[in-house]
C-alpha cells in the first residue's frame, strides 16, 4: 500500500493487516518533523519499500551524487525491503523537470542507464528494481525495443524489475502493441514488485484516445485483467496500488488492496501451472 500523509493517523489507529508500505524517497529527505516521525512509527510495525522519483537514472549528465547520498542515508536509516527507481530521466543541465521523461532506446542510453544503476547499487549496497515507463510517443533516437533494452539492462546490472502493469497497458494502447506479448518478452523471473494504478483517458480526438498515467483513480478493469494474466506467469509478487492525486479515503484504498489480494491468493495450482508455461 502506498503511504500518504492523509492516512498516517488512520493507519496508526487501525493497524490494518497490510503486507508493506511504499513511500517516495523525495518526500522524506527533510531533517525531521512529522513525515519522518510517522515513517519511523509505521516502519516499526510494517516492512517498507522506498521508491525514488528523482534520481534520473536515464540522465545524460551523470547522477546527482548529492541527491544519491541523501537517498542512501534514508535507505540506510529505514532498511526497506526494496529500493526502486524509474527507467526515465527528470534532470538535465541542473534543471529538474518534475516528470518522468522518456529515454530513447539505443546503445548509448543503455550504457548510460547501466552505469547509473551500477552507481546506485554500489552506493546502496543492494540491487535496485527498475520500473518500466508509461509511453505516450515513440522517439526518433530509439533503435531497439523497450523489452530488449530492459532485458539487456537487467542482464548487465543484475537489477530487478518493478513491473508497472498500468504503464504496460497505457503504453500498449498509446503505441499500438499487444500488452500481454510485451510483458511476456520481459525478464519476468526478475520481477521483484508489481505496481497497479488508475489512468486517465483523453478522448478529445475520436478514435484516438490517449491514455495518461495519472494515478488519480481506481485501477481499470483492463489493468486488473492484465495483472491476473501477469501473475499467472510470474506467480505471486508483492503488489502495490498507487494513488497519488485525488487521494481517496483510507477505506477506498483498502478495498483496492483487497481486490489484489483476491487475485494473489488464487488456488496455488493455478499459479504453479501457469509458472511452468
Amino acid at each position: 500500500m502506498c503511504l500518504k500523509p492523509q492516512h498516517y493517523e488512520d493507519i496508526l489507529r487501525d493497524q490494518p493487516d497490510i503486507g508493506w508500505f511504499e513511500v517516495h524517497a523525495e518526500n522524506y529527505l527533510g531533517a525531521g518533523g512529522a513525515p519522518l516521525h510517522y515513517l519511523e512509527t509505521i516502519r516499526e510495525r510494517y516492512p517498507l519499500s522506498i521508491h525514488g522519483v528523482g534520481l534520473s537514472i536515464g540522465s545524460a549528465d551523470g547522477l546527482d551524487t548529492n541527491h544519491l547520498e541523501r537517498v542512501a542515508k534514508l535507505v540506510e536509516r529505514f532498511e526497506p525491503e526494496s529500493f526502486s527507481e524509474h527507467l526515465a530521466w527528470s534532470t538535465h543541465d541542473n534543471h529538474f523537470y518534475s516528470d518522468l521523461l522518456p529515454v530513447p532506446y539505443n546503445q548509448h542510453t543503455e550504457d548510460l542507464v547501466c552505469n547509473h544503476i551500477d552507481q546506485v547499487q554500489t552506493r546502496l549496497r543492494r540491487p535496485m528494481l527498475l520500473e518500466n515507463p508509461a509511453n505516450y510517443l515513440e522517439l526518433n533516437d530509439t533503435v531497439t525495443s523497450e523489452s530488449n533494452f530492459i532485458n539487456n539492462v537487467v542482464q548487465r546490472t543484475g537489477c530487478g524489475l518493478l513491473l508497472d502493469v498500468n504503464n504496460v497497458y497505457v503504453s500498449a494502447r498509446n503505441c499500438h502493441y499487444n500488452a500481454l506479448d510485451y510483458m511476456k518478452s520481459l525478464p519476468l523471473q526478475s520481477v521483484g514488485e508489481i505496481h497497479l494504478a488508475g489512468h486517465a483517458v483523453d478522448d478529445s480526438i475520436p478514435d484516438e484516445a490517449l491514455l495518461i498515467d495519472a494515478h488519480d483513480r481506481a485501477v481499470s478493469t483492463a489493468v486488473w485483467k492484465l495483472y491476473d494474466q501477469l501473475i499467472q506467469l510470474t506467480g505471486a509478487r508483492p503488489t502495490l496500488i498507487e494513488w497519488d492525486t485525488n487521494i481517496p479515503a483510507w477505506q477506498v484504498l483498502l478495498n483496492e488492496m483487497v481486490k489484489a489480494d483476491l487475485l494473489l491468493n488464487q488456488p496455488p495450482a493455478r499459479l504453479a501451472h501457469a509458472t511452468e508455461n
Binding site: 534543471h95 510517443l137 526518433n140 483523453d202 490517449l210
Partner: protein, 261 residues
C-alpha cells in the same frame, strides 16, 4: 547561444518552449496529433510544479485566486525552475517574485504572507529537538537568570511585518464559516509572528511588538537581562518574566545556552 544537438537537451528545450517543433524528436509513425502526445509531458511538469507551489502557499492561493496564482506560478516556473527533485525545497522566492508582478498593488502584504508560509514549510521539515521547559528556568535564581542566554530551537523563525499578516494568514487558512471576516481586520496594524514546532505541528502565533524586540535580542545571543533593554525603552512597564514564559511556552528555545561569549 550555441545550439545543443543531443537528445536530452533538445527534448528539454521542447518541454520548456511550446513553440519548438517536436517532430524531429519523434518517429514519423504517421500517428497524427503528436503534439498532443508531447503535451502530456509539458502538462505533467506544469501541473506537478503548480500543485507543489499551491500546497506550499495555501494562503497566497486564497488571496489572489486560482487564475492569478496559476498564471504567476507558470511564469515563476519558467524563470526559476527547480534545480533538484526535493519539492519541499522548491519555491522559496515565489512570494517576492509575485509581489514584483504588476497588478499586485491591492495585496501589498503578499510578500510577507508568502515569507510566513515558506517559514512554516521550513519549520515543518526542520530537525527535531527538545524544547526548553519553563521548569528549567524556574529552578534558576532570578539574579542569575538575567545573565543567561538561550539557544534557539531549529524549527523556530519569526517575521515582523507592517501588515497584520498573522490575522490575514489565519483568515485565509481557516475553513470555518465563523472565522473573522477580512473586512474586520485593522489593516493599519503591524504584526510580529512567531513560527515554532514544539512537537509535530507547526504553530503560528502573533506576539506584541515589544515582545518581538525582546525575542529578536534573545535570538541574537544577548543575555535575558540585556535582551529586555530595547523593550523596556519602548515600554517601561514591559514584563520580562511573562514575555519570557510566553516565548518558552511557544517553543522558541531548545535549551539554556551555557557556552560563554
Amino acid at each position: 547561444m550555441p545550439q545543443k544537438t543531443d537528445f536530452h537537451s533538445r527534448f528539454a528545450q521542447a518541454l520548456q518552449d511550446p513553440q519548438i517543433n517536436t517532430r524531429p524528436l519523434l518517429k514519423p509513425t504517421g500517428t497524427a496529433n503528436q503534439r498532443r502526445r508531447f503535451d502530456v509531458y509539458r502538462n505533467n511538469r506544469a501541473v506537478s510544479l503548480i500543485d507543489n507551489l499551491r500546497s506550499a502557499y495555501p494562503a497566497i492561493f486564497r488571496l489572489v485566486g486560482e487564475d492569478f496564482f496559476n498564471a504567476a506560478a507558470r511564469n515563476y516556473i519558467d524563470r526559476h525552475p527547480p534545480t533538484g527533485p526535493v519539492m519541499a525545497e522548491y519555491g522559496g522566492e515565489f512570494g517576492d517574485y509575485m509581489a514584483a508582478m504588476p497588478n499586485t498593488d491591492s495585496v501589498p502584504y503578499l510578500a510577507d504572507i508568502a515569507s510566513l508560509e515558506w517559514q512554516r514549510l521550513q519549520s515543518y521539515h526542520s530537525a527535531n529537538s527538545p524544547v526548553l521547559n519553563i521548569n528549567e528556568l524556574a529552578k534558576i535564581d532570578s539574579a542569575e537568570l538575567v545573565n543567561l542566554r538561550l539557544q534557539r530551537h531549529p524549527a523556530f523563525s519569526a517575521i515582523q511585518s507592517r501588515w497584520p499578516i498573522g490575522s490575514i494568514w489565519t483568515i485565509c487558512t481557516s475553513d470555518a464559516e465563523s472565522a473573522t471576516s477580512p473586512a474586520e481586520v485593522d489593516m493599519q496594524r503591524s504584526e510580529s509572528v512567531v513560527v515554532t514546532r514544539p512537537g509535530l505541528e507547526v504553530l503560528t502565533n502573533v506576539i506584541p511588538a515589544t515582545g518581538y524586540l525582546f525575542l529578536n535580542a534573545l535570538v541574537q545571543g544577548k543575555t535575558i537581562g540585556d535582551a529586555a533593554e530595547p523593550a523596556l525603552t519602548e515600554d517601561p512597564t514591559f514584563d520580562t518574566g511573562s514575555h519570557l514564559a510566553g516565548l518558552v511556552a511557544l517553543g522558541v528555545f531548545s535549551d539554556i545556552n551555557f557556552t560563554t561569549e
